[in-house]
């Protein structure tokens, strides 16, 4: 299987959909499989950066008061000077508490949409890292635009939470459609997380899975670990289904790893849901879901 360096954004225009968990564990598995991955925290809430223990990076500015994201995206500083190591083979370009002002400056900058690509992704991808994963902010704006343009690939994380439908349709209608008027943007996968309910009864888990596995143009984007075919659904409904339950499933280890501020692999290398993140890593390597 021919793989090549690739950058991917993990994003949905709504908070609380396991974006950070998905981005971190995907990047960790890419690092585990390929040795050189970078995760970029573009979310100004800094969850990933703070969680991994880089408060100082998140809060500090250099002597003239500018932060590292500004230095790289607006002043052309070398991004390598600002990455930190998270785990074996995995580095992080941290978020900063004042990403908001970077976003405003990008609005004013010439070709402001292209900066992340030109100053961070292009110089590093295929040189220092084989894979770059970007944790996107949950709102529309220049940072998100930059992530879409720099990667050309998107993974959309979902949880069976109120409002996932609007989150998904807003992301498709606003972010993806709009970007596609200007450049190519491939959706690599739609990834449900935190599944824990029965799916043979009318639960939100079932509703979410039904929708993404039967909806045209979405069904082929659902990874195998979450995919249920029409036959599977029939079997589920007549009580004869004996396949795996779709994931990414809720596991205490995933939450605990998050509490501890480490990727899942480094907290519990035995966790069965690592297989899902491993498949997600393969999807990024190949550039598509393969049934």
């Amino acid at each position: 299987m021919q793989t090549e360096p690739r950058a991917v954004s993990v994003g949905i225009l709504k908070g609380g959909f396991a974006k950070t968990t998905t981005a971190l564990n995907l990047a960790r598995e890419l690092a585990h499989r390929n040795e050189r991955a970078l995760v970029v925290d573009l979310d100004d809430n800094g969850h990933m950066t703070l969680n991994l223990g880089f408060e100082q990076r998140y809060n500090s500015t250099d002597e003239d008061g500018s932060n590292h994201a500004e230095a790289v995206l607006l002043e052309g500083e070398d991004p390598r000077e600002h990455v930190v190591n998270v785990a074996e083979g995995l580095d992080l370009f941290p978020a900063h508490e004042d990403l908001e002002s970077v976003q405003s400056a990008l609005k004013e900058a010439t070709m402001g949409t292209t900066r992340l690509k030109k100053d961070l992704v292009d110089p590093l991808l295929g040189e220092d890292y084989d894979y770059v994963v970007i944790d996107c902010p949950a709102n529309r704006g220049k940072l998100n635009d930059n992530a879409m343009y720099a990667t050309g690939n998107l993974i959309i994380p979902l949880r069976p939470e109120n409002g996932y439908e609007t989150g998904l349709s807003n992301t498709l209608d606003r972010l993806v459609q709009e970007a596609r008027e200007y450049f190519e943007l491939d959706i690599l996968a739609v990834v449900p997380s935190d599944l824990r309910k029965r799916i043979d009864q009318s639960t939100r888990d079932r509703k979410l899975l039904r929708e993404i596995t039967t909806r045209d143009a979405i069904d082929h984007l659902v990874p195998n670990f979450a995919y249920l075919s029409e036959d599977d659904w029939e079997a589920i409904d007549d009580g004869s289904y004996d396949g795996d339950l779709p994931g990414v499933r809720y596991r205490a280890a995933i939450d605990d790893a998050h509490q501890e501020g480490v990727p899942l692999r480094d907290y519990d290398p035995e966790c069965d849901q690592l297989a899902a993140y491993d498949e997600l890593a393969q999807i990024v390597e190949r550039g598509e879901v393969s049934r």
Binding site: E4, G126, E181, F183, D216
Partner: protein
């Protein structure tokens, strides 16, 4: 809107960005199965696009306007089962549009797609007859 600066960049590129060959070019798709009657032979490509799209300012390698005006079209009904429409829409959305993107075409109009579908179908009468016979056998 959000990406306007890309367009502005197209009109006047202040300092020509160094064009690097894309490291993360998606690999060309091995054409997946498409339903009979909506395959996309090369005959529909007006001109073959030159394969290196410029990355900094996506300029289409072929004409960036639709092949013909809206005034040139005639709307007539086509009768088909919903699943056939769905299969066609999927083939158009997933394969055809993607292959047009690869050729640098990004503003295809429905009329162009529909017109091409009919022309391709007209070129494949045997396959159409086969598909009809097949459907009758399955009845």
């Amino acid at each position: 809107m959000g990406f306007d600066d890309l367009e502005a960049a197209e009109q006047d590129r202040p300092d020509k960005q160094d064009e690097e060959t894309e490291a993360s070019e998606p690999e060309p798709d091995a054409a997946p199965e498409v339903p009979a009657g909506s395959s996309t032979p090369d005959s529909t490509a007006e001109e073959t696009a030159d394969s290196e799209p410029e990355k900094e300012s996506p300029e289409p390698a072929v004409s960036d306007t639709p092949a013909f005006e809206y005034d040139d079209v005639k709307q007539s009904p086509m009768y088909a089962r919903p699943e056939a429409w769905t299969a066609l829409e999927d083939a158009l959305d997933l394969d055809v549009v993607r292959s047009l993107r690869d050729a640098g075409i990004r503003n295809e109009e429905k009329r162009e797609l529909h017109d091409a579908v009919l022309r391709v179908a007209a070129d494949h009468p045997d396959e159409i007859a086969d598909a009809v016979r097949q459907a009758r056998r399955e009845e």
